[in-house]
């Protein structure tokens, strides 16, 4: 067990950052779940609530930035403390982006739900979002418990998200080719799918920041990390 700081206010400030990240993480997870639920059920009210909720993540990030800057100025953290402050700044910025992604999905709910097939097409996004949510949750558990032994396995699972995103991309293209009236909705859904795929990438960033925070060195790079949609063509 790590010892406490001699200066108890320092301890409290570090704790504050940790708790704030946990709070932001929980909030981001909730926003993803709700935005996709709103999309797949055509629930415009819920979508509106998600859009409004995003403010809390923006505030959370600002708060972490302010507190971290003040802490660096007052305490000049070293070694593991320094890494932790640095990681917290990065993670909060990733979580804030996750919120933006969820908000982006929520914003398209009314357009998608207007179209009769919209909600049906959106179903395909459910599984993708479950994968991304699970990914984010596991990464945040690593952060919470400071145990990074499993981080590599978790990060590798991002490939599943990328593969599923690529297949969704094809599926939505097929709908568009079947009937040009599907194009508007499917384009909206493509953006939604892309947003979810991006959430997986942010989870990877958080995993890497957590690993550095705990271990003091960077995770081995050179991991193939991309979806294949840039190679999808019409034939």
């Amino acid at each position: 067990m790590i010892k406490q700081h001699t200066v108890s206010a320092f301890e409290d400030e570090m704790q504050f950052l940790t708790h704030k990240i946990a709070e932001m993480g929980g909030h981001a997870e909730k926003m993803i779940g709700q935005s996709v639920k709103a999309l797949t059920t055509g629930d415009v009210e819920l979508a509106r609530a998600v859009i409004k909720d995003d403010m809390r993540l923006d505030e959370g990030q600002r708060e972490i930035d302010d507190k971290a800057v003040l802490l660096i100025a007052q305490r000049q953290p070293m070694a593991s403390d320094l890494r932790e402050v640095f990681a917290n700044i990065r993670i909060s910025s990733d979580l804030e982006r996750v919120g933006d992604m969820a908000k982006g999905i929520a914003k398209r709910v009314s357009s998608v739900s207007e179209y009769s097939h919209g909600v049906k097409f959106a179903r395909g996004l459910e599984h993708l979002s479950e994968l991304a949510s699970a990914q984010l949750k596991e990464v945040l558990d690593c952060y919470g418990t400071r145990s990074v032994d499993d981080v590599n396995n978790i990060i590798e699972r991002d490939e599943e998200i990328d593969a599923m995103y690529t297949s969704l991309f094809r599926e939505l293209l097929t709908y568009m080719m079947e009937d040009p009236r599907n194009i508007t909705t499917c384009t909206h859904l493509l953006f939604c799918a892309k947003n979810i795929e991006r959430i997986g990438d942010h989870a990877t960033n958080i995993a890497e920041a957590t690993y550095y925070m705990v271990k003091g060195h960077k995770l081995d790079p050179a991991r193939p990390n991309e979806d294949k949609t840039h190679k999808v063509s019409l034939d």
């Binding site: 070293m78 070694a79 403390d81």
Partner: protein
């Protein structure tokens, strides 16, 4: 970065160094190498032995009767505790700057020339004047004092006095400069000036600095050695020590968790 990671030459080395004050052991057998033209910082809580170790490097501990040093300490491979060694000459080669600026109660000029005189480094008054200017320039003090070289050194500000002491140390052309908390009595501006100076001195001299300021150690040194209760806990690149130390005791100390 690469320039600094090339294997540098070992300037001073300690092997199995033990120090006793009477029956009390202050240092428990330390191996520590100091590389040429690098700043090595010694850190650790009060009473950890870092200043004691520093004072072994120019046999300053000889002046304390009950102090006994065992083990091997070398300068360029030469045993500095060899009975045949001239301690006065050793202290010219390994100079020292103390915590509190301690200029002689004499003029600025005389503060600088005292050392070169007793070591016979100058033949004429003109030679001495050259040394005075060169040393004061080296310590970044020349421009500030060139018009009042014959005023007392004690009339300078604290930061200037400390730089005068550094000028006095480099006047005898040392190879190594030992600094025992050189900035702890200085304000932040004077501290910054001395730290800047340490960076410049490093091009010519090997520097070993004891400091209680972790930030200072992180800023000025290339290698850092962590002491605790007379042991060397670890020594590594400064960058590593302050971002990812190997030893828990180092981690606890530099993050303020000691005690």
């Amino acid at each position: 970065m690469d320039g600094e990671t090339e294997t540098p030459k070992v300037k001073m080395a300690g092997k199995g160094v033990e120090v006793f004050y009477g029956s009390k052991q202050a240092i428990n057998g330390i191996d520590l190498e100091v590389y040429e033209r690098q700043v090595t910082a010694l850190i650790g809580p009060s009473g950890c032995g870092k200043s004691t170790y520093l004072r072994c490097l120019n046999r300053m501990n000889d002046t304390i009767d009950i102090c006994k040093v065992k083990g091997l300490l070398t300068l360029d491979g030469e045993d500095i505790y060899d009975p045949n060694i001239d301690v006065v000459e050793l202290r010219a080669r390994v100079g020292m700057v103390f915590q509190k600026p301690n200029p002689f109660p004499k003029s600025i000029h005389e503060n600088i020339t005292y050392g070169p005189r007793i070591h016979g480094l100058a033949k004429s008054k003109a030679d001495l004047d050259v040394i005075v200017e060169k040393s004061l320039r080296g310590a970044g003090l020349w421009e500030e004092v060139k018009d009042r070289l014959h005023e007392p050194g004690t009339g300078l500000s604290g930061g200037q006095q400390q730089r005068l002491c550094i000028a006095r140390a480099i006047a005898v052309q040392p190879e190594v400069i030992l600094m025992d908390e050189p900035c702890s009595a200085l304000d932040p501006i004077a501290t910054a000036i001395v730290e800047e100076l340490i960076g410049e001195l490093r091009e010519q001299y090997t520097i070993v600095i004891v400091t209680h300021s972790m930030q200072q150690a992180a800023r000025v040194s290339q290698r850092t050695a962590m002491f605790h209760l007379g042991d060397l806990v670890e020594v590594d690149d400064t960058e590593t020590i302050f971002t990812n130390p190997s030893e828990k005791r180092t981690q606890d100390y530099i993050t303020g968790r000691f005690g």
